[in-house]
């Protein structure tokens, strides 16, 4: 016992960036429990990422099966539960992504565990710190079950560094794959060459004040100049200006980039909950009273119609002078 099993999402032959945050959290938990980190990769073709995964932990368990091409909680949860038992896991961990949030409570039910969701810090063996009330407070929660299920908030844990060696890779059988009749019939992905919102170093976000989707083009130009991801407030996604998966906030994505540029976003608490961990926050808004200015490191009271083209021009100048 005492081991920490970390479920890691993969993309082709590598771990997804979000998994590296989970590994950092898992290492902390393993220190507290006196065990080792075991990474679990599941999916059709997941084996391709086993060499990458083995750089980060002494042991990797791979369940690579053609029946697991599409993630579903129904098929993945029993595998996580079974491997957790086999590996003597005291902690079963994942990152709080759309997959992690969907999967891990189901795993907790299967292994009769208590769970701490979306944690910001490991305090000790069974105490964790996490945001509640849309980030307006932090609670310390104690989980007294064995095992414990935990999901990590990606923005609160740095990406793990490789250990400088290769861990043991072990394959495990998928066993009886029960879909319970659930089936993913279609996935609509929004294709983009921009970095993933969860991982981006810079995020440019627009709000209701952008007035329509066409007006977001100027923000996209700014984002592309900076190599940034695009984000938006709920008001902007609800109004249909931009896709729902751009939403930053309590119910959207929680991000903490080096630089967050909020344009024409008033700063409702639900939005602030999703971005106030950012290292530097810039707010551009015509309303000097907008709440976004209370969290901004730099506030510019201006109409975006003037400020953004000017900002694009300034950054172009800067880039040219650098080359």
């Amino acid at each position: 016992m005492g081991n920490v099993l970390a479920f890691c999402e993969v993309s082709g032959s590598v771990l997804r960036t979000n998994a590296l945050s989970c590994i950092t959290m898992a290492r902390q938990a393993a220190d507290e429990h006196g065990g080792q980190v075991v990474l679990l990769l599941i999916g059709a073709g997941a084996g391709a990422a086993s060499a990458d995964a083995a750089r980060y932990a002494p042991k990797v368990v791979v369940v690579d099966d053609a029946r697991l091409g599409q993630y579903t909680a129904e098929t993945f949860a029993p595998i996580v539960a079974r491997v957790a038992r086999a590996e003597g896991a005291s902690v079963i961990a994942a990152t709080a992504t759309a997959v992690g949030k969907d999967l891990m409570p189901r795993v907790a039910a299967l292994v009769s565990a208590g769970m701490a969701s979306d944690i910001a810090a490991v305090i000790d063996k069974n105490k964790f710190r996490r945001a509640i009330l849309a980030g307006n407070a932090f609670q310390t929660v104690e989980v007294s079950s064995d095992p414990i299920v935990v999901t990590a908030r990606q923005s609160e844990f740095d990406a793990a560094e490789p250990l400088g060696g290769a861990g043991e890779v072990q394959t495990a059988e998928a066993g009886d794959v029960q879909t319970l009749g659930a089936e993913v019939v279609k996935v609509e992905t929004s294709k983009s060459d921009r970095p993933d919102l969860n991982d981006a170093r810079i995020v440019v976000s627009g709000g209701r004040g952008m007035k329509n989707g066409e007006n977001f083009k100027v923000l996209e130009e700014l984002a592309d100049l900076l190599g940034a991801a695009m984000g938006a407030s709920r008001a902007a996604t609800d109004a249909g200006f931009v896709p729902a998966d751009w939403q930053v906030g309590q119910t959207g994505k929680i991000v903490a980039p080096d630089l967050y540029i909020a344009v024409a976003i008033s700063g409702a608490i639900q939005h602030l909950a999703g971005m106030k961990g950012s290292k530097t926050i810039v707010a551009i808004n015509k309303d000097p009273e907008a709440p976004i200015f209370q969290v901004a490191d730099y506030g510019l009271v201006a109409q975006w119609e003037q400020a953004i083209p000017e900002l694009v021009a300034e950054i172009k100048k800067l880039k040219e002078s650098q080359t």
């Binding site: 909680a73 009330l133 279609k186």
Partner: protein, 272 residues
Amino acid sequence: MKILVPLKRVPDPELKTKIKDGAIDLSGATWVVNTFDEYAVEAALRLIENAAEGTRDGEVVVVTIGPEDAAQQLRSALAMGADRAIRVDAEDQNLDAGVVVATLSAIVEAEKPDLILMGKQAVDGDANQVGQMLAGKLGLPQATFAASIELAQDKTSVTVGREVDAGVEYKKLPLPGVVTVDLRIVSPRAVVNHVTPDSHEYQEGPRYASLKGIMQAKKKPLDVKTLADLGVTAAPVTRQLSVELPPPRAAGRKVESVAELVAALRSERKVI
């Protein structure tokens, strides 16, 4: 069709958070139905009704676990149009996700709903656990973070549009199953039951209770059960030890021009 909607009361999320003795100060709290659960009630009503003709074919049962005061939030849901309510008597400090799931499992076994529809998370604890745990415990299929629900013509399955990191995933579940809803489930065309004409556009957001609805809600059945009645013996395994306010952010400053902003980002922060 019978839909069970578990709901939780939460302190009004619009009010400022206060902390007293290491816990959220709830002494003067105004309680409301958790936003996402209220949306689940709305979605449940849309699934069983013919909005064009004002008729319905099915039943919406709401359930909460909490002290006597929590009956008010059940009445709110009854006033929106739910048919009947169950309150399982319990004090909040004796509950955690596991106890709630054990309780709801017993209710599901007694009520045998076709669909369990609930909010994706409570906006106080932000844990996002109960729906998935309930589905896991009962061996039912699940669809979390529903932005849309389409009930099949034969009413034996639902296809749920789920907001995932890369876009929208459409997941088909046979019934019975568990669906947890996200904000966009109350947009005008998010719920399709092929009884209400598919072209029908609802008002954005959950419906308001009419005066008639509020009067009727007083007469609708509200059963009270105890954990013992339901045979629930589970004890909490998660416990809140303390709560604190987040550290304040260092005050920022206003810049006068785009040029000043760019200079600051470059020289002070070195982020561009």
